[in-house]
């Protein structure tokens, strides 16, 4: 009975709870730290495994791997330059097409569209993100590429054929087709994230701009877009990440020819496609090792591009955020 009186005292109960909550808090902190560190450790492990698997090729080719254009499994000579070129160009093209489209869509969805339309459009954009890569690849190969090569590429060549970018014979599967299909895959990501970023811009910013006499477009440009520059850049980087690693859809429309050329209408080859295509039939150790090294280079390119992006972010976007005094 005495014990009951003591433990039922509210203060006693509260301090007991506090002690339990402190332990709970520490466990929670520790658990989340472990989760965060494990992601970091996972990336390091992936890098280590790739390096370990590619040591044969690293030893045999050294820097030549990155500078040679000769990928010859019969004579065991492997040079990854065409693949690096293909990955960078197709991803660059994808961003060039997707970024204006996505940001414009995001701006429309947050600033201009009537409320009933926002839900519908958002649903369709998320549906596009849910389409599996292979399905998009089949659609690209059987529908998009024939359509483009019959209706779009001839006109492009007629109008812009004086540029080296659009010269040479075009057969449908080419760098531009690869860029377009990547753009289709990347648009939903950039749009969704940009929409969230733009939605989080405080209403006060817009009101302040209106108060200063800005027009609708100037409000969007000055108050919303510049405020959200950092976040929008982050959205673009997310999209770029997907574009760099995308495999199945690209391999079906890019023509899979390891060559470096100026024309966007000539076929190309990306690192991810090469690995996916050749991995299962790589019968010799050096071949397998060369493919591992290709994976390592892809990881390296991704990390490098991300690092460059962060650097750009710090240099340019940092200026627009003014500290509140």
């Amino acid at each position: 009975m005495d014990g009951q009186l003591v433990s039922s005292h509210p203060l006693r109960r509260a301090s007991g709870n506090l002690a339990r909550r402190a332990v709970g808090d520490r466990v929670f902190q520790w658990l989340t730290l472990v989760m965060a560190v494990s992601v970091f450790v996972l990336i390091i492990l992936i890098g280590y495994e790739l390096a370990h698997g590619s040591h044969l090729a690293l030893r045999k080719f050294g820097w030549r791997f990155l500078t040679s254009s000769n990928w010859d499994p019969v004579n065991e000579q492997y040079g990854a330059l065409p693949f690096i070129f293909g990955t960078l160009v197709s991803s660059g093209l994808a961003l060039a097409i997707a970024v204006p489209l996505s940001i414009a869509t995001a701006v429309y969805l947050t600033e201009i569209a009537p409320h009933w339309l926002r839900q519908v459009l958002t649903l369709f954009i998320e549906l596009l993100a849910a389409v599996p890569s292979v399905i998009l690849g089949f659609w690209g190969m059987y529908i998009m590429v024939p359509f483009l090569s019959a209706n779009v590429f001839p006109h492009l060549q007629k109008l812009l054929g004086f540029l080296p970018l659009f010269r040479g014979p075009s057969y449908g599967p080419c760098m531009l087709s690869g860029g377009i299909i990547l753009a289709i895959m990347v648009v939903p990501i950039i749009t969704s994230v940009s929409r969230e970023i733009l939605r989080s811009v405080p209403g006060l910013q817009r009101e302040a701009a209106f108060a200063l006499g800005a027009t609708r477009w100037e409000v969007t440009r000055i108050a919303v877009l510049s405020y959200a520059k950092k976040g929008l850049f982050g959205a673009v980087i997310l999209g770029l990440g997907r574009a760099l690693g995308e495999t199945m859809a690209v391999t079906m429309v890019i023509g899979n020819t390891p060559q470096i050329g100026a024309s966007l209408l000539s076929p190309g080859y990306t690192m991810a496609s090469a690995i996916a295509n050749e991995f299962t039939e790589a019968t010799t150790d050096v071949y397998l090792s060369a493919l591992f090294e290709l994976g390592l280079v892809l990881l390296g390119v991704t990390v490098l591009v991300n690092a460059l992006a962060q650097l750009l972010l710090k240099t340019f976007a940092g200026r627009s955020v003014k500290p509140q005094n």
Binding site: W71, P173, N256, N277, T280, E281, A282
Partner: protein, 333 residues
């Protein structure tokens, strides 16, 4: 809850162990439909053993049998001397069925074309670039060939089909052998790369004036037009199960069964054909599994071969079958 899960897991494991023996294999994708049917039918013959086959590609099959992670491997190309030297024991090549590779194309009116080895090699080397080239016209009198560009389509992924095709081109063209060579994956001098038989077929179908190569079974099932080829005897032959079996019967087959049957000498032989092998160790590690494996191999070379034709594979001719069965008898367990 955890105790319940562990108990359930133990019961499940017990069920598999007591009920059936599991034999694992991995490798080539080309014969996979036939092997699946074999495993399915064999389960009715001997219910005490279950086969598990992963069609991860010939390269994977060779690697796994070398690493001894599977009980048998399968490959569309023979293992090289280097790879065989790496094996912990002697590996036997058991030829099971053969298939053909056909040259498919997209021309207005789908004319029936005749081609020969050197011309095909020069097309794929990029030396012949127009459909109305004199050499193609010479083989096809009476066919109206357009003044259009020849667009070559090849496989971008490594494959047994590419191995057989490049083996043929290396045999009929010194140029090809010197510059490109034979392998599941090569440095193609010209053309677009497409993934899988379906990729090549799709590309050729969508691109007028294109030419590519696919498996015979695939061409049959998808009703693709393909060319007649001039064989080593100088006769134009259409690819079919009969002409492939004829090629198998007339090919020179050495003791270790690692052979190439392209450009076989028979009159009715189709020149671009190849056999697929099962890879097993001569000395089996596990006596019980070894016995079951040998029983299955014997069944497949006798009853199993009868199922091949229905799935568009050419079975092994009697002369070779005798030799293979004799070789299977040498497997020790």
């Amino acid at each position: 809850m955890i105790v319940g899960l562990v108990a359930g897991g133990c019961l499940l494991a017990q069920h598999v162990a007591v009920g059936q023996m599991l034999i694992n294999g991995a490798g080539a994708t080309f014969p996979y439909p036939l092997y699946s049917k074999w495993f399915d039918q064999y389960a009715k013959v001997d219910a005490s053993v279950r086969f598990n086959y992963q069609s991860i590609g010939s390269g994977g099959g060779q690697k796994q049998i070398l690493a001894q992670t599977v009980d048998f491997g399968a490959s569309d190309g023979p293992m090289s001397d280097d790879n065989l030297a790496k094996a912990p024991g002697k590996i036997l090549h058991i030829p099971t069925v053969a298939g053909a590779v056909v040259v498919t194309y997209n021309l207005l009116g789908q004319p029936k074309l005749k081609l020969d080895g050197p011309v095909v090699a020069d097309i794929f080397l990029g030396k012949i670039t127009k459909w109305n080239d004199a050499r193609i016209a010479g083989l096809n009198p009476g066919v109206k060939l357009p003044d259009a560009d020849l667009v070559v389509v090849h496989r971008s992924d490594g494959s047994g089909t590419s191995y057989i095709f490049t083996d043929y081109l290396s045999t009929v063209s010194k140029d090809w052998e010197a510059t490109v060579g034979r392998n599941a994956s090569v440095k193609w001098p010209t053309g677009l790369g497409a993934k899988g038989n379906e990729g090549v077929a799709g590309q050729v179908k969508n691109l007028p004036g294109s030419i590519g190569y696919v498996e015979l079974a695939y061409a049959h099932q998808n009703k693709l037009p393909f060319a007649e080829l001039k064989n080593a005897a100088g006769i134009f032959v259409t690819a079919s199960l009969e002409s492939v079996t004829e090629a198998l019967a007339t090919a020179k087959i050495p003791e270790d069964f690692r052979f190439s049957m392209v450009n076989a000498p028979g009159d009715k032989a189709y020149p671009i054909a190849g056999v697929t092998w099962l890879l097993v160790y001569e000395q089996q590690k596990d006596p019980a599994k070894g016995q079951k494996l040998v029983e299955f191999l014997n069944w497949s070379m006798t009853k199993g071969e009868d199922l091949a034709a229905s799935l568009d594979y050419a079975p092994v001719p009697p002369s070779l079958k005798e030799r293979v069965l004799a070789r299977i008898k040498t497997i020790k367990y």
